[in-house]
């Protein structure tokens, strides 16, 4: 499967190369400008405590491009009790600005809970002490400003059994809607434990707790989510 992969996406590479103004030369002279790609898919299913029915998550994170210019894509979806609760897509242009770091700019589109479009600007990379960092500022189509900060780190229990604690905070610069005030309004703290049969195939278990620190009355209450799933890289 993996061996055919370069051919399968060859045409896509040309497209991306053209879009990014790169030469998609194969092999020969300037092979250091070849187009590469990375896609991570995590699909899990489980339960949010206190809620009836099951809960699924589907996340895609990846890029296609050269070393300096890349098209990044991210999709985050959640379902609970048979309903799609959240569906968010980001398409970003990323530019290598320093070792370990990319600057990103692009669009975010939410289909759920509401249909919204955002301008997204951020930086993403690896901070000292090997923290994966994703910092983003969003300007919504109605002008409201929010931000997202995400930190993750891998701890090797063995070389294949890896614990990944993470913290994701959503920030609001203004009242995004009736339930959200200025400041951090949603925090997810979690731990994903995966077993890498190889780099490309790893089942995982993920436990997280979601807080709504500034929620007004009528807002959501803290909840714990437990899911098991599969992480694929291709």
């Amino acid at each position: 499967m993996t061996n055919n992969y370069p051919q399968q996406i060859a045409s896509l590479r040309w497209l991306v190369a053209a879009a990014l103004g790169l030469s998609a030369l194969s092999a020969q002279a300037m092979e250091d400008e070849s187009i590469y790609s990375y896609t991570r898919v995590e699909a899990g299913t489980g339960k949010i405590r206190g809620q009836a029915g099951s809960s699924q998550s589907f996340n895609v994170d990846g890029w296609i491009g050269g070393d300096f210019n890349r098209l990044w894509y991210q999709f985050d979806g959640e379902r609970a009790g048979g309903r799609t609760e959240a569906a968010e897509l980001q398409l970003l242009y990323g530019r290598y600005i320093a070792p370990f770091w990319d600057a990103q700019v692009g669009l975010r589109r939410d289909e759920r809970p509401g249909q919204r479009t955002y301008l997204a600007v951020g930086v993403r990379g690896l901070a000292p002490y090997a923290f994966d960092v994703d910092l983003k500022l969003f300007v919504r189509d109605d002008g409201k400003v929010s931000a997202r900060t995400r930190f993750e780190n891998d701890f090797l229990l063995t070389n294949r059994f890896i614990a990944r604690p993470y913290i994701n905070v959503e920030w609001s610069a203004s009242n995004l809607d009736a339930t959200v005030r200025r400041g951090p309004y949603q925090t997810d703290v979690g731990l994903q434990a995966r077993y890498e049969f190889n780099r490309q195939f790893a089942p995982y278990v993920d436990v997280s707790r979601t807080f709504y620190p500034r929620a007004q009355s009528g807002g959501q209450r803290p909840a714990t989510t437990v899911r098991a799933g599969l992480r694929l890289i291709f």
Binding site: Y5, A27, D32, Y36, P99
Partner: protein, 619 residues
């Protein structure tokens, strides 16, 4: 044709039908070079070939159907013709690694010639201006890593200044069933895609727990934090991992490739590292090896128990097994992720114990030149090599022993001798060096390493000393673990280098890259966005390579021999490929005699392919 010959031919043909035909010189019984005819004309066909190395069928690229390809045996001074037919679906080019040829014959597609188009035949013609052990391989994309390489042996006009009764080629390589382009794509996806030998959190905690005292514990903690802060991995000695198989003459360890000898004979082994991404440490337990050639060029003999061979390098050694027993040719990778293995034996079917590879190496901050070590000390290497001024020193004692001790000194490994950088040739002023000097006969304990290397130089330049160094081998100094390892500082050209002028200028080449993104560069620029270096024809240039990464880079310069600045003055060894250890500086002098645009690159092919390559315009 007698019955036996017909049968062996049939079995060879059936082998050919199954997969690749093993080349005559690399069957399980090694073929002596003496049995390979010398020729001036060769026809080579490059084609995709089904191979089965690991037990699973995989595609490789072969020369005349075999991996490695056929040995080319030439005679020095001959005008040779090599016709290469490309049966691949992409451009190719054969590069004669280490041979001094006109630029148009150097075989780098898009640089020295347009390349050989699919279906075409290209004829290389050049006159051989040298003798020794070399090799040839593809210089297009990552074709070499698919099995596209083979040895070259050039017999000298004047016999080599050492004797031997038989000779064999020991070609080292590695193999992965995954095609090289996919290996690279994987390395681009995930940092350390193949590295499943990292230090785990429980291992780290155990280290802390087992530390003898608070100070040791702090040191372990600080080292770990320093690596984490730098976002680097101390176990990253190789980009490869368990999926690799290591081959000797194209054979797996289990196949027990065997080179025969009669007890008491002197056997010349011509080691070539054709591996695309692994360096090796070569040992023959129980047999000291006398290094007589490095990169095809004769050197003053050095007796060692182990030598490190970088990608693209060659070393010729003489061994003299006196007993009628088997000896293992044991060749672990420097990351200790596996080993290539063969046997030296008086008859077929014998084998010797295989030693343990030892623990997987882990770099320390000291190896990386951190933790308070003064990196400016690296500059003293150049001071040590300054041959001027000291020449003609009166009263110098030229006993070989003293010579050896001094040469060994310049190569003292300051950090952890056993583990990490045996190839290092830095003379850093630090405590261990002073101590070693105190032990040296006739040396004052207050001496400093840099000046101490000067007498060795001056001997080279002393009037009345023969250019041909005495054949009595010097002995490499013993490391803490009892092994005598070859160090670059011990390599001394057998004859004085032709150009003894002081360098007219210095060319700084920093070896750089981004490990996590997996691209590599020189002076922070990849080939595709860098201007060529410029060197004048006949200009004497000192190239100073500073490795700012944390991996060894075997740097290969086309079109000229690099004279390593290692304290041996006008006898600096002539090399086509030089390992630059992490965080260290290596200097070399060149004088180009052939014009044209030449390639200069890291011989870890995945590093070259991702940018660690530069063009050198010589005019």
């Amino acid at each position: 044709m007698d019955e036996l010959k017909r049968r062996s031919l049939q079995s060879l043909l059936s082998l050919g039908a199954l997969g690749a035909l093993p080349p005559a010189w690399a069957q399980l019984r090694a073929v002596e070079i003496g049995a390979v005819p010398v020729d001036r004309t060769y026809d080579l066909t490059i084609a995709e070939t089904a191979l089965n190395i690991t037990g699973k069928p995989a595609m490789g690229i072969t020369i005349n159907g075999t991996m490695p390809g056929p040995v080319l045996r030439f005679r020095e001074g001959d005008e040779v013709v090599i016709r290469v037919t490309n049966q691949l679906r992409e451009i190719t080019g054969v590069h004669w690694h280490g041979l001094l040829v006109p630029n148009s014959e150097d075989g780098v597609p898009g640089v020295t010639f347009p390349g050989i188009q699919p279906g075409e035949t290209f004829t290389y013609r050049f006159k051989l201006r040298q003798s020794g052990t070399y090799w040839y391989h593809s210089h297009a994309a990552l074709q070499e890593a698919a099995g596209y390489f083979a040895p070259i042996v050039i017999d000298p006009i004047t016999p080599d200044p050492f004797k031997y009764d038989r000779e064999y080629i020991v070609m080292l390589s590695d193999w992965n069933d995954t095609p090289p382009q996919q290996v690279l794509a994987n390395l681009k996806k995930v940092d350390g895609f193949y590295n499943y030998r990292r230090i785990t959190t429980p291992q780290f905690l155990a280290q802390l727990r087992n530390a003898p005292d608070k100070k040791a514990r702090e040191a372990i903690w600080n080292d770990r934090m320093e690596w984490a802060k730098m976002r680097m991995d101390p176990t990253d000695f190789s980009d490869g991992g368990d999926e690799w198989t290591f081959l000797m003459a194209g054979k797996k360890p289990a196949e027990n490739w065997t080179a025969l000898f009669k007890p008491g004979e002197r056997v010349r082994l011509r080691f070539i590292n054709a591996s695309p991404m692994n360096m090796f440490d070569v040992r023959i337990p129980g047999l000291p090896m006398t290094v007589v050639q490095a990169d095809g060029q004769n050197v003053s003999p050095v007796e060692v128990d182990e030598f490190r061979i970088g990608n693209g390098e060659t070393y010729d050694v003489i061994v003299q097994p006196k007993e009628a027993k088997a000896y293992s040719i044991f060749v672990p990778t420097i990351a200790r992720i596996g080993y290539a293995l063969g046997t030296l034996a008086p008859e077929l079917g014998m084998s010797a114990p295989v030693p343990a590879m030892g623990p997987k190496p882990v770099r320390t901050m000291a190896d990386m030149g951190m933790a308070g070590m003064d990196m400016s000390g690296a500059a003293s290497t150049s001071g040590a090599a300054d041959a001027s001024g000291m020449a003609g020193m009166p009263g110098m004692d030229t006993k070989p022993a003293a010579n050896a001790a001094m040469a060994g000194m310049a190569g003292m490994d300051m950090g952890k001798p056993a583990a990490n950088t045996p190839g290092a040739s830095m003379a850093m002023p630090s405590k261990p060096a002073d101590k070693a000097m105190a032990d040296m006969p006739g040396m004052s304990a207050s001496g400093k390493p840099a000046p101490a290397a000067k007498p060795a130089d001056s001997m080279a330049g002393m009037p009345g000393m023969s250019d041909q160094t005495a054949a009595a081998p010097i002995t490499a100094p013993m490391d803490e673990d009892g092994l005598r390892r070859l160090k670059y500082a011990l390599l001394r050209a057998a004859t004085r280098n032709a150009d003894n002028r002081a360098p007219e200028r210095e060319l700084l080449v920093r070896l750089t890259g981004d490990m996590t993104r997996y691209f590599w560069s020189m002076n922070d620029k990849k080939l595709s966005n860098a201007k060529p270096f410029k060197i004048g024809l006949g200009e004497r240039v000192r190239i100073k390579m500073v490795n700012e990464t944390m991996m060894e880079h075997p740097m290969h310069l086309h079109g000229v021999f690099m004279e390593l600045v290692n304290g041996n003055g006008a006898f600096g060894p002539r090399k086509h490929t030089i390992i630059v250890p992490p965080a260290q500086t290596v200097e070399l002098d060149v004088t180009y005699e052939d014009e044209g645009t030449w390639a200069f690159h890291c011989h870890l092919f995945y590093h070259a392919a991702t940018g660690m390559m530069r063009l050198v315009e010589v005019a």
